[in-house]
C-alpha cells in the first residue's frame, strides 16, 4: 500500500487538468471507542460537499491510518454518503492518526489528519448499563418472589395443559406393561433447552420410580448421557428405590442427528413404548419421531422452544408445551412454592416488556403523528434504554 503521506494542499498532484476535483471531507474526528477492551477507534466526518444524490462527483471514501508515525495504510473503502467508520483492528499501546480521502474518477482528495488517538480499555462497559439494570430488575423480581413463596405465601399459577397429563401418561405405561421413552432433544449440555428437559426428567422419573415403570432414554450426546444418569439416579434415590436404578436406562447412540433418529425409530417400532416424552431442543427430526411414535400408538407429550418444530408436535402429539412453557414446566411440575415464585418473576419481566411496548408505541405514534415533543423524547429514551449495541 503505502500511499504518500500527503497534506491536503498537495492533492492537486493527483488530479491532472480537466479532471474531476472533489472537496475533501471535513470535521474528521477520531475517538477511542468507549467501554471496550481498547480494540476500536471511532471515526466520524462530514461528507464531501461534492457527494450529491444526482450527478455526484464523489465515488466514495477511503480511510487511511498511520500507526506510531509510520507509513499510511489504507484501511477500507466506503460507499458515497458514508460519514463514520469504526476501526476494529487497533491495539493498545500504539498511537493512531487517521485521514480520509474522497475518491473521484481521477484521484483521491485526502482530508487533514486527525490528532493521534491511543485506544484504552475500560473496566466496565457503561454502554450496557441499562441492560445491566434490566438484568438486575428481572433477577430481583425472580428472587423476590422465590423468597415470598419460601415464607409461605401462596402464589397463583394458571394450569398448563400438557403438564397435568404427565402422571396419567406414566400410569398408562405401567398398566400396559410397556416402557416410557424419554428423548431430551439432540442438543448438548450447552443448550438451556437440554437443561430444562433434564430438570423435567427429574420430576418425571420420580413418578416412574414410584409406579415402577420402565424407562428408556437413548441420547445423542455423551455429556447428556452422563448428566441424565445423574438425574435418574437422584430421582430413584429420593423415591426410595435406588436398587431399581441402572445405568443401562440411558444409552448413547451417536452424535449424528439422523443416525440417532434412525436408531430411535427402530427402537420405537420394536419396543412399542406406551408413553413418549419429546422435550428439549428438536430440529428436523421432530416430525419423524412424533409420527413414528404416533404410528405405534404411544401417548406423546412434547415441548420445544424451536418455533419451526412446534406445528408438528401440535399435530402429531397429544400435548405440546409451547416455547416458554417448556422452561416453566419443571418449576410448575415440582409443585414447590419457591419454583412457582420464579415463574412469577418471569411474569414481571413479561409485564415490563408489555408496558414498554405499549408506552413506546403510544409515544412514537403521538410524536410521529402530532409532533409532540415530550413524547419524542420519551420514545428516544426508551429506544436507547432497550438498545443492545
Amino acid at each position: 500500500m503505502g500511499q504518500p503521506d500527503t497534506a491536503p494542499l498537495d492533492t492537486a498532484v493527483f488530479a491532472d487538468s480537466g479532471a474531476v476535483t472533489v472537496a475533501p471531507v471535513e470535521s474528521l474526528l477520531a475517538e477511542d471507542h468507549k467501554y471496550d477492551n481498547g480494540r476500536a477507534v471511532d471515526l466520524s466526518w462530514v461528507p464531501s460537499i461534492d457527494d450529491q444524490l444526482v450527478d455526484s462527483k464523489a465515488l466514495g471514501y477511503r480511510v487511511y491510518r498511520i500507526v506510531d508515525g509510520g507509513e499510511a495504510d489504507s484501511l477500507a473503502d466506503l460507499p458515497p454518503f458514508a460519514a463514520a467508520f469504526t476501526d476494529g483492528s487497533v491495539e493498545r499501546g500504539h498511537s493512531y492518526v487517521y485521514f480520509v480521502s474522497a475518491l473521484s474518477p481521477s484521484g483521491e482528495f485526502p482530508s487533514v489528519h486527525t490528532a493521534p488517538v491511543k485506544p484504552e480499555r475500560e473496566w466496565i462497559n457503561l454502554s450496557r448499563g441499562w441492560l445491566f439494570l434490566i438484568m438486575l430488575f428481572i433477577s430481583a423480581a425472580v428472587i423476590f418472589f422465590v423468597e415470598t413463596a419460601r415464607r409461605g405465601k401462596k402464589l397463583f399459577v394458571r394450569k398448563i395443559a400438557g403438564l397435568e397429563a404427565i402422571d396419567d401418561a406414566v400410569g398408562r405405561a405401567t398398566e400396559m406393561g410397556r416402557p416410557v421413552l424419554f428423548i431430551p432433544g439432540i442438543s448438548d449440555m450447552d443448550d438451556v433447552e437440554t437443561l430444562a428437559a433434564l430438570t423435567i426428567l427429574g420430576r418425571v422419573s420420580r413418578t416412574i420410580a414410584d409406579y415402577d415403570s420402565k424407562i428408556f432414554m437413548p441420547v445423542s450426546r455423551s455429556l447428556v448421557m452422563t448428566a441424565a444418569r445423574e438425574t435418574l439416579k437422584a430421582s430413584y434415590q429420593s423415591a426410595g428405590r435406588p436398587d431399581a436404578y441402572s445405568d443401562d436406562m440411558v444409552n448413547y447412540v451417536t452424535d449424528e442427528q439422523f443416525g440417532y433418529v434412525a436408531a430411535v425409530d427402530g427402537l420405537m417400532a420394536r419396543e412399542k413404548p406406551a408413553t413418549v416424552f419429546l422435550l428439549g431442543a428438536f430440529f428436523a427430526e421432530s416430525l419423524i419421531l412424533a409420527e413414528t411414535g404416533n404410528s405405534v400408538g404411544a401417548i406423546q407429550i412434547a415441548g420445544t422452544a424451536r418455533p419451526a418444530q412446534l406445528p408438528f408436535f401440535i399435530a402429531a402429539c397429544d400435548f405440546t408445551l409451547i416455547g416458554e412453557e417448556l422452561f416453566a414446566a419443571s418449576a410448575y411440575l415440582s409443585g414447590e412454592p419457591r419454583m412457582l415464585g420464579s415463574l412469577k418473576g418471569q411474569d414481571v419481566g413479561k409485564a415490563l416488556a408489555m408496558i414498554v411496548i405499549l408506552v413506546g408505541v403510544v409515544a412514537m405514534t403521538m410524536s410521529e403523528a402530532w409532533d409532540v415533543g415530550v413524547m419524542e423524547n420519551l420514545r428516544a429514551w426508551l429506544v436507547r434504554v432497550f438498545s443492545t449495541s
Binding site: 441492560l131 434490566i134 438484568m135 428481572i138 402464589l155 397463583f156 399459577v157 394458571r158 398448563i160 449440555m189 450447552d190 438451556v192 437443561l195 455429556l223 452422563t226 448428566a227 445423574e230 447412540v253 451417536t254 452424535d255 449424528e256 439422523f258 443416525g259 434412525a262 436408531a263 425409530d265 427402530g266 417400532a269 416430525l287 418455533p307 419451526a308 406445528p311 408438528f312 401440535i314 409451547i322 416455547g323 416458554e324 416453566a328 415463574l343 412469577k344 411474569d347 413479561k350 416488556a353 408489555m354 414498554v356 411496548i357 405499549l358 413506546g360 408505541v361 409515544a363 412514537m364 405514534t365 410521529e368 403523528a369 402530532w370 426508551l382 429506544v383 432497550f386 438498545s387 443492545t388
Partner: protein, 211 residues
C-alpha cells in the same frame, strides 16, 4: 470403484426408504451401518478437531487450555466407580457457564432487541405530511403491535385466561397459530426440496434417467 460407490449409496438410500413400508431387515442393516459409521465419524472428528486441534496445538500459547484438559479428565473419572462423583464438577461447570452466557445473550437478543423493534407508530395524522408512511405500513405496524402484545398475554402465567385478559390471550394464540401455520408451510417446502434432491440422486446420478 465409481460404480460400486454409486450402488452402495443407492443400496443404503433404498434401505432407509424401505422403513416407509415397514421395519425390516434391510432397514435394520442400514440403520446399524448408519449408527456405527456416524459414531465413528464424530469420534474421529472430535478427536482431531477438539482434542488435538484445540488442546494439543494450542496449549503452548494459551495455558488456560489446561483447565479444559483438567475438566475433561475429571469427566473420564466416571469410568472409575470410586471417584465417579468427581465427574459432576465439569458438569456443574458447564451448566453454570451455559446458564450465565445464555442468560445475557437471550436477554439482549431475544428480549431487548425485540421489544425495541416493536416500538412502531400506529397512526398518522396526515399520510405523507411530515411522516411518510402509507396505509399499508400503518396497518402492518398495528398488526405487529397487537400480535406481539397479545402473544405475550397468552404466555402470562399468573392470571387465569378469563374476561378481557382471556380475550387478549385468545387473540394472542391466533397469532401464534398463524406463525405455526407459516412455519408448517415453509417446512413442507423444505422437506419436499430434500426429497427432490434425493430422487434426483436416484434417478439422475444413479440411473441416468433425468438430466
Amino acid at each position: 470403484m465409481e460404480h460400486f460407490a454409486l450402488w452402495l449409496g443407492a443400496f443404503l438410500t433404498l434401505g432407509i426408504l424401505s422403513f416407509l413400508y415397514k421395519d425390516n431387515a434391510w432397514y435394520k442393516l442400514s440403520e446399524a451401518v448408519f449408527v456405527g459409521i456416524s459414531a465413528g465419524f464424530w469420534f474421529a472428528t472430535l478427536f482431531w478437531d477438539n482434542l488435538v486441534g484445540k488442546f494439543w496445538d494450542g496449549k503452548g500459547e494459551e495455558p488456560m487450555l489446561w483447565v479444559g484438559a483438567a475438566l475433561g479428565l475429571l469427566m473420564l473419572f466416571r469410568l472409575l466407580p470410586k471417584v465417579g462423583w468427581l465427574s459432576r464438577w465439569p458438569l456443574a461447570f458447564i451448566v453454570g457457564a451455559t446458564s450465565g452466557l445464555w442468560l445475557m445473550n437471550y436477554l439482549a437478543s431475544n428480549i431487548m432487541s425485540q421489544v425495541q423493534a416493536t416500538i412502531l407508530p400506529v397512526f398518522s395524522s396526515g399520510f405523507g405530511a411530515g411522516f411518510d408512511a402509507d396505509l399499508a405500513t400503518i396497518v402492518g405496524n398495528l398488526v405487529i403491535f397487537v400480535g406481539t402484545f397479545t402473544g405475550l398475554v397468552y404466555f402470562f402465567f399468573s392470571k387465569e385466561h378469563k374476561g378481557v385478559f382471556g380475550g387478549a390471550a385468545r387473540v394472542g394464540i391466533f397469532f401464534i397459530m398463524i406463525t405455526f401455520g407459516a412455519s408448517f408451510g415453509y417446512t413442507v417446502m423444505s422437506r419436499m426440496s430434500l426429497l427432490i434432491g434425493r430422487i434426483d440422486f436416484l434417478l439422475g446420478d444413479w440411473l441416468g434417467m433425468i438430466g
